[in-house]
């Protein structure tokens, strides 16, 4: 039988985290990625999109980025919809998102500051 996960491992994570915990001083400086997770978004495939963002942000160890969810954004036909908020910049709305598009949005927009125009609502809703 393979090695089984146990709650004891969480204690180890706790010990390790004690030494690496950093204090984030100001929430307003966070970049935010918000995924619409109402019935419309979920039915259109928002869950894998949300998970892909969480994974990508964790993989790149992006400290000042927060992935969260919201309800119905109000344009159900364009779901899954993702809004990106970067302090001091205008909100960017990505529509008809898929998990495959996530790495590009994180790399180009979140990390390097270049909006992925072809995924935005401006490019798709003509």
């Amino acid at each position: 039988m393979s090695f089984m996960k146990s709650l004891a491992e969480l204690n180890a994570i706790r010990e390790k985290a004690k030494s690496t915990m950093t204090v984030r001083d100001d929430n307003t400086e966070l970049k935010r990625i918000v995924v619409g997770m109402a019935t419309c978004g979920i039915a259109a495939g928002a869950r894998p999109v949300l998970n892909a963002f969480v994974d990508e942000v964790a993989r790149r160890k992006l400290d000042g980025v927060r992935v969260s969810q919201t309800g119905c954004i109000g344009m159900c036909q364009y779901e899954p919809i993702v809004e990106v908020f970067i302090p001091g910049e205008e909100k960017v709305t990505y529509v008809k998102m898929t998990a495959d598009k996530v790495a590009k949005v994180v790399n180009d927009h979140i990390v390097n500051g270049n909006i992925v125009e072809e995924y935005t609502i401006g490019a798709i809703a003509k």
Partner: protein
């Protein structure tokens, strides 16, 4: 919805909106009887009798942004189209519970799908709430309770990347054991 796990995610969002601090998701599969019970129970603000009566009407919603609410009607339809049943009970100030039975042998049975993804998403996106997930198949059962995880984790948040990896692995292992 292509998976029942997506309906579950959707219904649990109602519990979050209702301000629940504890949400329980329960799956019970009786394989010989071909029955799957899916229950979602919360301690949120609950609903009035009138609201409970209109909840399965797609043109009833408590939202103010628009006039349709599809979550509950879709879930009810998914259960009833298999020959199963749907029941909702609620009390203002106490909480709401949804209990559904699915006939798994029905041609109209929607597969459960990626329930792990649903549960881990709920936990990591709502670290201010507690979740208790249990999955029983015949006489085997496994349970994931965020209250137990918190006890082991202390100040480490449930959305810590290493904790998320642990939850996913734990879930996979326990599900494999259930299916053995």
């Amino acid at each position: 919805m292509r998976e029942l796990s997506l309906n579950i995610l959707d219904i649990a969002q109602n519990s979050i909106s209702a301000g629940a601090s504890l949400i329980e998701i329960k799956l019970v599969e009786e394989r010989a009887a071909g029955d799957l019970l899916i229950g979602i129970y919360d301690n949120g603000k609950g609903m009035s009798q009138e609201q409970v009566e209109s909840i399965t009407d797609p043109f009833f919603t408590t939202r103010t942004t628009r006039k349709v609410g599809m979550g509950i009607p879709l879930f009810k339809m998914a259960a009833e189209q298999t020959g199963g049943s749907f029941e909702i009970k609620s009390k203002p100030g106490e909480g709401t519970g949804v209990t559904t039975h699915f006939k798994t042998g029905s041609i109209d049975f929607t597969p459960l799908g990626d329930i792990r993804s649903t549960v881990v998403t709920l936990i990591t996106m709502n670290t201010d709430r507690d979740f208790r997930f249990s999955h029983r198949i015949d006489d085997k059962e496994f349970c994931l309770d965020t209250r137990e995880l918190r006890e082991a984790l202390g100040d480490v948040p449930l959305d810590n990347p290493e904790v998320v990896v642990w939850m996913n692995e734990y879930f996979k292992e326990q599900t494999e054991l259930l299916l053995q």
